[in-house]
């Protein structure tokens, strides 16, 4: 119970009136804590500390005290930035800036325009050892935010991250010079990292009869798992926490979830979140999918990525990045930020069933959990963006899960972004969410292209897959984004149209 340590420090002999007074104070202290929980009020905390010592060792008091600390004296920049350090555990979290690179656009507006126009970004690409493969390739200006030396020293995932993060900061309208950099965190989802750099080094030493003395001293800093997020901190001078989240192809969503949770915890005031991938630069990912019988082939590259279509024959691997600024609503409103949407629901769970095969039951559970957290019923969702990668079992499994949860929701639009850009791996969840976010303004659900002959096994029930042409929805209020990955990791995000 409350104040166990304080309790032990009290004299053992106590009269009944003291016990009664302490009991009253305990009730009063608990009430104060409840009030603090609602308002994060430091004055009340001080009152509790002074008059109700029995509760100061309680987890609730320590939790609130941690979040109610005042800014350091003389912290002018912090004041100018106007971010609060006092949060309640479930303060509303909003998206305030977007930066991305995809095979069909290097900004949200370009990306959205291509999605609504039905433009594919899949091309033929020469890959070491394998030869020609189909891939989603990005073409952004690496030198916009990096020097040539930085590009050479770093990684492709790092350059993607630096580009997207800088674009997001610029888009957010934050006065970056005024932002306290120790209150910013970087949380990026990755499917894998280091394969590209390791393959490059092995290829390099193969030209020297595998003499390891020519193995690059850059290998370790390039391949450490935090590299993409770390390059962002180097670029932007961020001194708060940074790390990546390895979560297979569910990682993009998980970057958002991690950032949201860190904002809730009060660990940071600004979270730079999302997902990135450089996977098209490793031959291994193509070779492995090919050996698995899951690599797409098609004489016309633009038609290769075809989720839910009978003629689908596997995954098109893509590179890319989608990074956002997340803020507490109170902070965003204080500075008059543009708000793209509010994250209202999320869930992560595990299949615990197979290394690679999906498990519809757990996917459905994940979607239901996100709905519960958002306090929504399935038919409240307007757009459901699927994870489907155009594999036989993956597509069918996800449709089964969607049918189980949303089977009665005839107004739900089900779409798929991979049909345009391929599977951007760690970036997939982020890019697919961001590709749909403009729907809050323009009312469209973008299409699933290449859906010429729908597989009957990919029936979602009453909801219809938006096939080949974008659908005008009227008002879009809620978007649900699925991202699933190997080893059975599922992630779901629900974003709401912003209403103050």
């Amino acid at each position: 119970m409350y104040g166990k340590n304080a309790y032990n420090a009290m004299p053992k002999k106590r009269d009944s009136s003291a016990t009664g007074r302490r009991s009253t104070l305990r009730i009063l202290g608990t009430a104060c804590l409840a009030t603090c929980q609602s308002h994060g009020e430091p004055l009340l905390l001080r009152f509790v500390r002074r008059h109700c010592p029995f509760v100061v060792h309680s987890p609730q008091f320590q939790f609130l005290q941690r979040f109610s600390r005042r800014p350091a004296p003389g912290s002018a920049a912090r004041s100018a930035f106007g971010m609060s350090h006092s949060v309640t555990p479930r303060e509303r979290i909003v998206i305030t800036g977007v930066g991305l690179t995809s095979p069909i656009g290097n900004s949200l507006s370009e990306f959205r325009e291509s999605l609504l126009a039905g433009r594919s970004g899949v091309v033929v690409r020469e890959t070491r050892y394998i030869g020609e493969v189909l891939a989603g390739v990005c073409n952004f200006d690496e030198l916009r935010y990096q020097k040539r030396k930085e590009v050479r020293r770093g990684t492709r995932a790092g350059s993607i991250s630096v580009y997207c993060a800088n674009e997001a900061i610029r888009d957010s309208g934050l006065n970056w010079g005024e932002v306290p950099k120790d209150r910013v965190g970087v949380y990026l989802g990755i499917t894998e990292h280091g394969n590209v750099e390791t393959e490059n080094e092995i290829f390099e030493i193969s030209k020297f009869n595998y003499d390891t003395s020519v193995w690059s001293h850059h290998h370790n800093p390039r391949t450490v798992a935090n590299n993409p997020a770390g390059e962002v901190t180097l670029s932007l001078g961020i001194t708060g926490p940074h790390y990546t989240l390895g979560a297979a192809c569910a990682a993009g969503n998980i970057g958002f979830i991690q950032g949201m949770q860190q904002l809730w915890l009060g660990d940071v005031d600004l979270a730079i979140v999302g997902g990135v991938s450089e996977s098209i630069h490793t031959f291994g990912i193509f070779a492995s999918f090919k050996s698995q019988g899951a690599l797409a082939t098609h004489p016309e590259p633009a038609k290769a990525s075809r989720p839910f279509d009978k003629a689908r024959n596997g995954i098109v691997v893509a590179e890319g990045g989608g990074i956002c600024t997340l803020e507490r609503l109170s902070d965003a409103q204080r500075r008059g930020a543009k708000i793209y949407g509010e994250i209202v629901g999320y869930a992560i769970n595990s299949d615990a069933s197979d290394f690679v095969l999906p498990y519809a039951k757990r996917q459905a559970e994940c979607m239901r959990q996100a709905l519960r957290r958002a306090k929504l019923s399935p038919c409240d969702i307007d757009i459901l963006n699927t994870h489907a990668t155009a594999t036989e079992q993956g597509d069918i499994g996800e449709c089964q899960a969607v049918r189980e949860v949303f089977g009665e929701c005839s107004n739900l639009a089900v779409n798929n972004t991979k049909s345009f850009i391929g599977h951007a791996m760690g970036a997939a969840g982020a890019l697919e969410l961001l590709g749909n976010i403009p729907g809050f303004q323009d009312g469209y659900a973008h299409a699933t292209i290449n859906l010429d002959d729908p597989d009957p096994a990919c029936d979602c029930g009453a909801p219809q897959i938006v096939a080949n042409q974008a659908r005008q929805m009227g008002q879009v209020n809620y978007i649900l984004n699925n991202s699933f990955g190997m080893l059975g990791i599922n992630s779901v995000l629900i974003v709401r149209r912003f209403e103050p």
């Binding site: 040539r148 030396k149 050479r152 003395s213 020519v214 001293h217 850059h218 800093p221």
Partner: protein, 87 residues
């Protein structure tokens, strides 16, 4: 390889390592680090490129000899006397 050829080899390596720097005014008697942005990882790149391209092995205790262009050329002349200049 002659001293002037070795100097050119080093300039070519530096152009790849620090592509944003202007090397046209590089002085031979002043430390690289005082003239261009060159950190320890960049310095190791010079050593690595000499090893890869010309199979020149430079022991760590000799690294101070590479601090300036003049010192590096003097140090490398005996090591690269039988190495052909790049075409």
């Amino acid at each position: 390889m002659q001293p002037e050829e070795i100097r050119q080899v080093l300039l070519d390596i530096l152009a790849r390592i620090v592509p944003d720097e202007d090397l046209s005014t590089l002085r031979d008697d002043v430390a690289f680090r005082e003239q261009i942005e060159l950190d320890s990882m960049d310095f190791l790149d010079i050593v690595m490129e000499l090893r890869k391209q010309y199979r020149v092995q430079i022991p760590e205790e000799d690294y101070p000899n590479l601090a300036t262009m003049g010192g590096a050329v003097t140090y490398l002349v005996p090591l690269m006397k039988d190495v052909k200049a790049p075409a």
